[in-house]
């Protein structure tokens, strides 16, 4: 076939096409591999413990008797601890981000130090926060003991840097023309920020926060140090309550020598995964909804 000047054949060189193909294949394999891994875990868990799934699992409290053993107190414990951690971390995180993005003014030593610290905090291993919590909150100056309150503060410290970083991203993504437009109408800086910048940044912040919180639900190492690995047969009643959390309840059952309890641990893992999936799904739906909705 003769190549005329109107030929629509690709003129990309063979070499480039091979590279493209290799790269695409590599990407596809990575995605398939990671998905396969997740599905394999779920499949194994379900195969192992699927028959146990029933409301009894979430209504029964921990017990040494397999017929009446469940996860109620640990699920409630996770909800309480993570709930209060969110309550502590979100206002502080959002205000810090707002300060850094909108009110700190020019970069100076103070803001540079603050930024460096936030970056560092985000990289600190979770167990270190557990140690700090043990030394300064559960014991030491605060002496709050192994309580929901202590645990919530530790988890709040853990998610705080993430929330700050996410909120700053969301604020930076707001078109500067909104603020310019508002200022040109005689709005004060605060009016422009509170009426346009903050509302526009809410969806991004909310989505990011849900993802950060869903990480916190699975976190067990720091709370291990705060006495969460105990046999708790009651739901928390307040910040001063003792508590346990779902990941550690799973761990406790899994380390039991009796096989039935190990199967129960698998069932608990399925519950934990279901909670995580639900939260991530909610974050995605929230993002899609706010993208479709144009007005703030």
């Amino acid at each position: 076939m003769a190549t005329t000047s109107t030929s629509l054949q690709s003129r990309v060189s063979l070499d480039r096409r091979i590279k493209d193909f290799t790269f695409t294949t590599f990407l596809s394999i990575s995605i398939v591999a990671s998905l396969a891994f997740i599905f394999y875990i779920i499949y194994r868990l379900y195969n192992n413990a699927g028959f146990l799934l029933s409301w009894d699992l979430v209504t029964f409290f921990p017990s040494y008797d397999i017929d009446t053993a469940g996860f109620q107190s640990s699920i409630m414990g996770s909800i309480w601890v993570v709930g209060f951690a969110t309550l502590f971390a979100v206002p502080i995180g959002v205000m810090t981000a707002l300060y850094l993005e909108e009110f700190a003014g020019k970069r100076n030593r103070f803001t540079a130090l603050l930024e460096l610290n936030i970056q560092n905090l985000a990289g600190v291993p979770a167990v270190v926060f557990g140690l700090i919590g043990l030394a300064f909150i559960a014991r030491g100056p605060l002496s709050w003991g192994f309580t929901v309150g202590s645990a919530a503060i530790v988890l709040a410290m853990l998610i705080l840097p993430v929330i700050i970083i996410i909120t700053r991203e969301a604020i930076r993504a707001v078109p500067p023309s909104y603020k310019e437009g508002a200022l040109a109408l005689g709005a004060t800086h605060w009016q422009a920020v509170s009426k346009l910048v903050i509302p526009s940044a809410v969806p991004g912040t909310a989505t990011g926060t849900i993802l950060a919180v869903s990480r916190a639900i699975g976190e067990s190492a720091p709370l291990l140090l705060l006495g969460a690995l105990s046999f708790v047969t009651f739901n928390p009643t307040g910040l001063d309550s003792g508590f346990t959390i779902l990941p550690l309840a799973i761990f406790k059952y899994a380390s039991d020598s009796r096989e039935e309890f190990q199967v129960l641990a698998s069932a608990g893992s399925l519950i934990l995964l279901a909670i995580l999936f639900a939260m991530n799904l909610f974050a995605i739906l929230l993002r899609d909804y706010t993208l479709r909705k144009r007005n703030i």
């Binding site: 023309s177 909104y178 310019e180 437009g181 040109a184 109408l185 709005a187 004060t188 346009l196 007005n295």
Partner: protein, 300 residues
């Protein structure tokens, strides 16, 4: 530099009725070419104004007056400081870190850059329409209501009136009156720009600054905005930056032409005002040959 000062008494401008359609006290017929145009009660009086960004002087030695209730156009090649100068007229340039204004810049008899002058109050009186239409991600109604709301606590009925009046002044009412509660982002580009004009009218400014307001619009939308400006100049003073010579010739009564001149001390270029004259004269028999070269397309 701190940006926002509270409103101060010192900046209150006397509300005396300005002379509509001011004509120059020294028209080009009676004036030597070197003499600047003078007006009765000009809105802006610039004396030796220079604006710098850090060490870089973007524009300098600007001496001119801007008349009230008329349209003044700024023209000149890219980078000569038209936008910079326009932004200094309502202190929007304050928001750029490192930007600094030198010389004296009076709004009527009030010093715009006096330490006690509030930039927020200045911007309420001197509105701005940007090159790219920038409606807020709110309903059409809320876009217009935004300015009145941040400047006071108007009642719902008052707001309704303001919204209708502003949209009518901006020749947009008929097109949007049935969908005031729909998102402003759903409007066409030309409609969005008229919305932005309506939005600035809603706070009842005295001056509207427009930085290339039609450069993102098609010829028909452009024509509508130009008709609108001709209507608006009865009530407002308009300063417009444009790259479109015909537009400057069509809409404005006075035109200021700027160029960039090479600095002797650095390789950066500084903007200078070459000529400020009646638009008719600028486009027929300008005093400066550089103006003639530019408006006839031989330069820039």
């Amino acid at each position: 530099m701190s940006m926002i000062f509270r409103q101060s008494q010192a900046n209150k401008v006397s509300k005396e009725e300005p002379k509509k359609g001011s004509s120059p006290m020294n028209s080009s017929a009676t004036r030597k070419p070197s003499e600047p145009l003078k007006f009765v009660d000009p809105v802006f009086t610039l004396k030796d104004v220079a604006v710098s960004y850090g060490d870089f002087v973007a524009v300098s030695d600007v001496n001119m007056q801007i008349p009230s209730h008329d349209i003044t156009a700024f023209i000149g090649p890219s980078g000569c400081g038209k936008s910079t100068l326009l932004r200094t007229l309502n202190r929007t340039n304050d928001l750029i870190p490192g930007a600094k204004v030198h010389g004296s810049l009076f709004y009527h008899d009030a010093d715009l850059y006096h330490p006690s002058a509030s930039a927020v109050e200045v911007r309420r009186r001197i509105g701005m329409v940007f090159q790219k239409p920038n409606p807020f991600p709110k309903s059409i109604y809320e876009n217009i209501a935004f300015g009145p709301k941040v400047n006071g606590r108007p009642k719902k009925s008052e707001l309704d009136d303001i919204v209708e009046k502003s949209l009518k002044s901006a020749a947009l009412w008929d097109e949007v009156k049935d969908r005031l509660n729909e998102s402003a982002l759903g409007l066409s580009g030309g409609q969005q720009q008229r919305l932005c004009i309506a939005r600035s009218i809603a706070v009842e400014p005295e001056v509207i600054l427009m930085d290339e307001p039609c450069s993102a619009l098609d010829p028909i939308a452009t024509l509508r905005i130009e008709e609108l400006m001709a209507e608006l100049k009865k009530q407002y003073t308009i300063v417009i930056v444009t790259h479109n010579m015909q537009q400057a010739a069509r809409v404005s009564s006075y035109t200021a032409f700027y160029v960039t001149e090479v600095n002797l001390t650095s390789d950066r270029r500084t903007g200078k005002l070459v000529e400020f004259n009646e638009t008719k004269k600028m486009f027929s028999t300008p005093d400066d040959e550089r103006t003639e070269a530019y408006v006839t397309g031989k330069m820039g």
